[in-house]
């Protein structure tokens, strides 16, 4: 029954409640303006809010050289997003990233498994603590220096791994 419900796209009751910790990296076109980025981030934030997710941080890595060309562009603007979400929200976020042609590439990785409601709550609350460096290494010389989002919310922990 459960499998069938999943296959047909219905969310099961259990899925709806469970929060997991994910991180999504997405690469946008390097020629985008500041406004383009803020609308994109705004969209993500609103999606997350409606989907009952919680964004721990969004890091702006700036423009980096890509390992290979994507759509004739050899550079890309990297963003790393660390958040708590239920699986259906991840699906929704990825669908939106896929539809957005400004986003060259994206990838979501599950960092932590099913969080108990208490830990999820604790994670949410510790947020306004200290500022945490992004997990990514400081960008090498010759690249745009990393700057944080103005609205960036510092997360409590470093790596979930």
């Amino acid at each position: 029954m459960l499998f069938r419900a999943r296959r047909m796209g219905y969310r099961t009751h259990k899925e709806e409640r469970e929060l997991r910790r994910y991180e999504t990296i997405f690469v946008t076109h390097p020629d985008l303006t500041e406004e383009d980025h803020s609308t994109l981030l705004e969209k993500i934030r609103s999606l997350s809010a409606t989907g009952n997710g919680d964004i721990l941080k969004i890091d702006d890595w700036g423009i980096k050289k890509l390992g290979y060309e994507i759509g004739k562009s050899s550079r890309g603007h990297f963003f790393l997003m660390d958040y708590l979400a239920a699986p259906h929200l991840v699906r929704e976020l990825e669908r939106n990233l896929r539809l957005n042609d400004r986003v060259l590439k994206f990838m979501t990785v599950k960092v932590g498994d099913d969080l108990a409601p208490e830990t999820a709550k604790a994670l949410k609350e510790v947020r306004p603590a200290e500022k945490v460096n992004p997990a990514g290494e400081p960008s090498p010389a010759g690249e745009v220096p990393k700057k944080d989002e103005p609205k960036k919310i510092p997360a409590e922990g470093g790596e979930g791994r």
């Binding site: 990296i25 690469v27 980096k64 890509l66 390992g67 290979y68 994507i70 890309g76 790393l80 060259l104 590439k105 994206f106 990838m107 990785v109 997990a135 990514g136 290494e137 790596e159 791994r161």
Partner: protein, 81 residues
């Protein structure tokens, strides 16, 4: 006289997995600097017998490199002219 074939097999000291030796080192797909040590200049993943990783960490490294490639942090291959 015996042929020196057996002798020619050079003995090599067993390499120690860097990640086992130093537990502070974390394998992360976003950390391209570390991952860069485990690929050839053409971008291929180094085999365990060269890098000296233990099986567990080699698996982690492999997964991390593949993730990094997927999101274009690392190249799949570097084609030299």
């Amino acid at each position: 006289m015996k042929p020196p074939a057996r002798k020619r097999r050079s003995f090599q000291r067993r390499k120690i997995c860097v990640f086992c030796a130093d537990s502070n080192l974390k394998i992360d797909y976003k950390d391209i600097k570390t991952l860069g040590h485990f690929v050839t200049e053409r971008g291929k993943i180094l085999p365990r017998r060269i890098s000296g990783n233990c099986a567990k960490h080699q698996r982690d490294i492999t997964e991390a490199i593949k993730r990094a490639r997927n999101i274009a942090l690392m190249p799949f291959s570097i084609v030299s002219s």
